[in-house]
């Protein structure tokens, strides 16, 4: 039995004029019937005209045989149930009706049985009959669907030129959706499906879910509430393509979504969702990647797409939401990319729990939110999409780069890893000198501001450089000496011995000026190289002080206003202190000299 080009009849029935000419050559169809038609009265030649019915095994359409092919009928080359390949056809549009004319064909086989049970092409959106003959169809329908969506891209999507009521399969682009037209069908991939969420407020309670739908023209969000959740939630599967119609087009609530579209879809009880098997033309995912080095240019709360190698996977942790008093699992990843920057990205909820890629994968993130916690951080939001090892060019490039040279590189970090009240990444490009810090009055406003600088320790106030602290991990509160032990108020515990932690005021200076910085334990360890716990006699103490003076460090500081006994001053706290890697610093200076700035 011959294979027919199923799907072609429907295409012939629906495609517009300009497309038909490109279509249909080389398609295999079966002629179900050939009938002679009375010649038109005006024709002088008594040429017979034959009306034929062509079937693709799924549907049938009427067509006319061009007169040049009449001979084939006359000498029996083609007759009922003959399978032919259409070599050329034309389509005339007469008074809203389309007339297909077969101009040339050649016979494949005769005397076959009727193939399939073709029906009239659907006027409405029935389930597309699963192609009885699959093999020929996929290659045919791919260009067919792409041509139909390209047709739909014209500014005013062509209403059906065929008989009205065929609104079913005409695929709109998502960009073209508007509340003013509701006889549309979109064919889109579900790029993201949210969990079912329940809410309850004064007005009542209910449940909802969201999907993000995407086709070549754009993206749109769809939301279903309550009863619709039960009906449609299982139907939608991430990554699959569906025909969707009869949903309501509303103005988008931008608060809940970060998609570009002005509109969004409300999925209702009568919304029709059908899985589509011809997925080749719908794009997988459109990214607009931002290099990690340029994350600083983005404002906080913006969303962006990034792709990078997951260099480090943090442990699963939990955080208690102050708003809802629920614990939410979270996990931090560190990703790096070819701009030689690294950044921390936070996963939440199920994603955090399930993240299990230990082998430095390339991961693409779409729609992650930019934060400024300690420089720059990224965070997944409900509409973010994470794809591990995506099959796209950027991913392959990254994989090759990282395997080749990336593992060796030191990355410039957007975040600092140390603990402490607040962070400040050491950013060499934004380094200031001390007179600049003072003149620009950093920290004068109520908000804390960060800066980085390189300076030399001139003097450490030696009156008090350490204090007894609570040894409990994470609690650094000063403990009180009760005589019988040391008590921490916060933890409500008493200890035999406290842990001494550094707290120091240091005068540092650079070529432009001097400033007083406050350092905590990390700073002390870096400066002295010893813990505060060790007992020291006076000679050792002095030696230590002398040794620390005159040493240069890179500081990341936080400037904040402090009120102390009616006096308001700006205090510079050290959030991070690092010794100089002269080689690195020298390299940067050389680069700076070679840069256009220095010329």
């Amino acid at each position: 039995m011959s294979q027919l080009s199923s799907g072609i009849c429907r295409r012939l029935n629906e495609a517009p004029q300009e497309e038909i000419d490109h279509l249909a050559s080389g398609h295999t169809v079966q002629l179900l019937s050939i009938k002679k038609v009375a010649p038109t009265p005006s024709s002088t030649t008594a040429t017979d005209r034959f009306r034929i019915i062509i079937s693709d095994g799924v549907h049938f359409v009427q067509a006319m045989l061009a007169t040049q092919l009449n001979d084939l009928v006359a000498n029996g080359d083609i007759n009922k149930n003959t399978v032919v390949v259409i070599d050329k056809l034309a389509c005339n549009f007469v008074q809203d009706k389309r007339l297909i004319i077969i101009l040339d064909l050649h016979v494949v086989s005769r005397d076959e049985e009727k193939i399939g049970s073709p029906t009239a092409p659907p006027p409405t959106q029935d389930a597309p009959a699963p192609s009885v003959v699959e093999t020929a169809s996929s290659s045919i329908s791919a260009p067919a669907t792409s041509s139909s969506t390209s047709q739909a891209k014209q500014p005013q999507p062509q209403p059906r030129t065929g008989p009205s009521g065929r609104g079913g399969r005409s695929v709109y682009p998502i960009e073209g959706l508007s509340p003013y037209q509701n006889n549309w069908t979109i064919k889109a991939r579900v790029t993201q499906k949210s969990d079912i969420r329940t809410w309850s407020n004064q007005r009542g309670e209910g449940k909802l879910f969201n999907v993000t739908l995407m086709d070549e023209s754009g993206e749109i969000r769809g939301t279903g509430f309550n009863a619709v959740v039960d009906e449609l939630y299982e139907k939608f599967e991430e990554g699959k393509v569906y025909y969707i119609s009869k949903a309501r087009v509303n103005l988008a609530k931008k608060k809940f979504s970060n998609l570009q579209n002005d509109y969004e879809l409300s999925l209702e009880k009568n919304t029709e969702v059908e899985e589509c098997l011809e997925t080749t033309s719908v794009p997988m995912m459109k990214y607009n990647f931002v290099e990690l080095s340029s994350l600083e240019k983005l404002e906080r709360d913006n969303t962006c797409d990034v792709i990078g190698v997951v260099k480090e996977v943090g442990p699963l942790g939990e955080i208690t939401s102050k708003a809802t008093n629920r614990t939410i699992p979270k996990r931090d990843l560190t990703i790096v990319d070819m701009s030689q920057f690294s950044v921390r990205l936070t996963l939440w909820g199920k994603q955090a729990e399930q993240f299990a890629a230990d082998d430095l994968p390339v991961v693409a993130f779409k729609g992650v939110k930019v934060g400024d916690f300690g420089g720059r951080t990224l965070s997944m939001v409900s509409s973010s999409i994470m794809t591990i090892s995506p099959d796209i060019e950027e991913a392959h490039l990254l994989r090759g780069w990282y395997d080749g040279i990336g593992t060796e590189k030191n990355f410039q970090s957007h975040t600092s890893g140390s603990s402490g009240a607040s962070f400040g990444g050491f950013n060499r490009n934004e380094m200031r000198h001390l007179s600049d810090v003072k003149e620009s009055q950093l920290g004068m406003s109520d908000k804390a501001e960060f800066f980085s600088t390189r300076a030399t320790i001139m003097h450490i106030k030696s009156e008090s450089i350490s204090y007894p602290a609570c040894p409990t991990q994470g609690c650094n509160k000063k403990v009180v000496d009760l005589g019988s032990g040391w008590r921490c108020e916060k933890c409500d515990k008493t200890f035999e011995r406290p842990e001494y932690r550094y707290i120091m005021s240091m005068a540092v200076a650079d070529w432009s000026g001097q400033a007083w910085l406050q350092g905590f334990n990390e700073a002390g360890l870096a400066v002295f190289g010893k813990t505060a716990d060790e007992e020291r006699n006076e000679a050792e103490y002095n030696a230590l002080m002398a040794q620390a003076s005159g040493v240069t460090f890179n500081f990341s500081c936080r400037a904040k206003q402090d009120t102390y006994n009616d006096q308001t001053r700006v205090r510079y706290g050290i959030s991070r202190i690092t010794s100089l890697d002269y080689r690195e610093e020298a390299k940067h200076l050389v680069d700076l000299l070679k840069s256009p700035w220095a010329k």
Partner: protein, 120 residues
């Protein structure tokens, strides 16, 4: 006026300044009693005549006078080891930078050997 100029150089820059005092940061390749063969920051090899001058580290700065484009007569050496490695590429970059014309005011320049005239 100021004859005591000693610029840091690499092997390429030794030509044309015969008789001048230079500083050559380099890596010691071979050491024998009178001679040391070293590699300068641009990779070129230079012979160091080092009677009575100690060479104590792998990376040294040789201060001496230029005999010819590949030989220096050493007057003194400075050990330069920093944890065993010295980034010679970085050193070379700096050396080349110091000779750029935009820094003429910062670094002393050797006068032309041919037209050497006493300056006061």
């Amino acid at each position: 006026m100021n004859e005591h100029i000693s610029m840091r150089v690499n092997s390429a820059r030794l030509s044309g300044i015969k008789g001048r005092t230079v500083r050559l940061p380099c890596k010691v390749l071979r050491l024998s009693d009178d001679i040391a063969i070293v590699e300068a920051s641009d990779g070129g090899q230079v012979e160091i005549q080092r009677k009575n001058v100690d060479v104590t580290a792998t990376y040294v700065e040789v201060i001496g006078s230029v005999v010819d484009a590949s030989t220096i007569k050493a007057m003194a050496t400075l050990p330069l080891d920093s944890e065993g490695e010295l980034d010679m590429q970085l050193v070379n970059d700096v050396i080349e930078l110091t000779f750029e014309s935009r820094f003429d005011k910062l670094f002393p320049r050797y006068k032309e050997t041919e037209t050497s005239m006493p300056t006061h």
